[in-house]
Symmetry: C2
Subunit: 188 residues, 2 copies
């Protein structure tokens, strides 16, 4: 890769990274392209070279969340063999996020919820279907015929706790709920 291409890739990645943080901290609606340019230390005029509109950069943030989700789940799969251990591995990863969630909510859940209120083609639903589908696969591997329902219950339990953790500014809720869901998985 030439130097100018490296710099270009660096700028695009910086913009997506800055946008992901700002969407999490202040939401899609309250974030402007100018905010993102400033946070990424990229001249606003330059942003348009990579992204024509705010929606284009939001779509890139969703893609990045999807990429990271696949990576996280693949890492859990290679670390744990038993499906129950894989599910608990995901919960362990989520349990560590209490402080961040108490401040800004779940980065996935809040983005999905905000975009669901908007008209238009932009949807973050993949960010929810990926963990639900993955959890369903694990419950099915545990021999559960109601694997889909259990997967929905598990992800809903996590997302609802994230909402309460955020609204009540109570980081400890996240750890307790993840421990509760883990105990529930052991009891199945």
């Amino acid at each position: 890769m030439t130097d100018s291409k490296t710099r270009a890739a660096g700028k695009r990645e910086r913009l997506i990274g800055a946008a992901a943080l700002l969407l999490h901290k202040q939401g899609v609606e309250a974030t402007t392209l100018a905010d993102i340019a400033k946070a990424a230390d990229v001249a606003l005029g330059n942003v348009y070279y990579y992204f024509k509109t705010k929606d284009d950069i939001v779509a890139a943030v969703i893609e990045e969340h999807v990429r990271e989700l696949h990576q996280t789940l693949a890492a859990i799969e290679s670390r744990c063999t038993a499906p129950g251990d894989r599910l608990k591995g995901l919960l362990q990863a989520l349990a560590t996020q209490g402080e961040l969630v108490a401040r800004y909510g779940c980065p996935h859940g809040t983005l999905c919820q905000e975009l669901a209120k908007r008209d238009g083609d932009l949807s973050a639903s993949a960010i929810m279907t990926i963990p639900v589908d993955w959890a369903e696969k694990q419950f099915a591997a545990m021999g559960r015929a109601d694997a889909r329902d259990l997967a929905i219950d598990m992800i809903a339990g996590y997302q609802g706790t994230a909402l309460l953790t955020n609204t009540l500014r109570a980081p400890h809720l996240m750890e307790r709920e993840c421990a509760r869901i883990s105990a529930w998985i052991d009891s199945l």
Copy 2:
């Protein structure tokens, strides 16, 4: 009450009602005072007589949600005597909201989540603490020492399902989850 006072009360109520609908449909950030004035059929110049800023009207919407919540819970208490029946009464009321939640999310949860991302004094956390405290009281009346945790689990289960119902546009999830939580209450 004089005629002019009746008209004034009517306008204020209309503004709050229109604001509550718009905040639910499109969110706080995307809603302007002009949108609210138009939806309430009140001249924009007139709105300032009742509310100086958008935050003032958002605060009035939160107060209205709190008032309605107390009313709903009081109605359930007078209809049902046993604490388990009261909890299931709340779930029955929530289960009927599937279609609306699939379109716009839970009016309470999405408002809490959006306001939690903002700096400033405006918080909708009362909208969450009221049902959690109420559910805790019912679980305690059932003799449960872990009443607080159970109340958090129940409201988190509902809120997380509302988020998935909304993101996946799947109204049936709401009814299934409310039935699941009701069965869980019976099993306690």
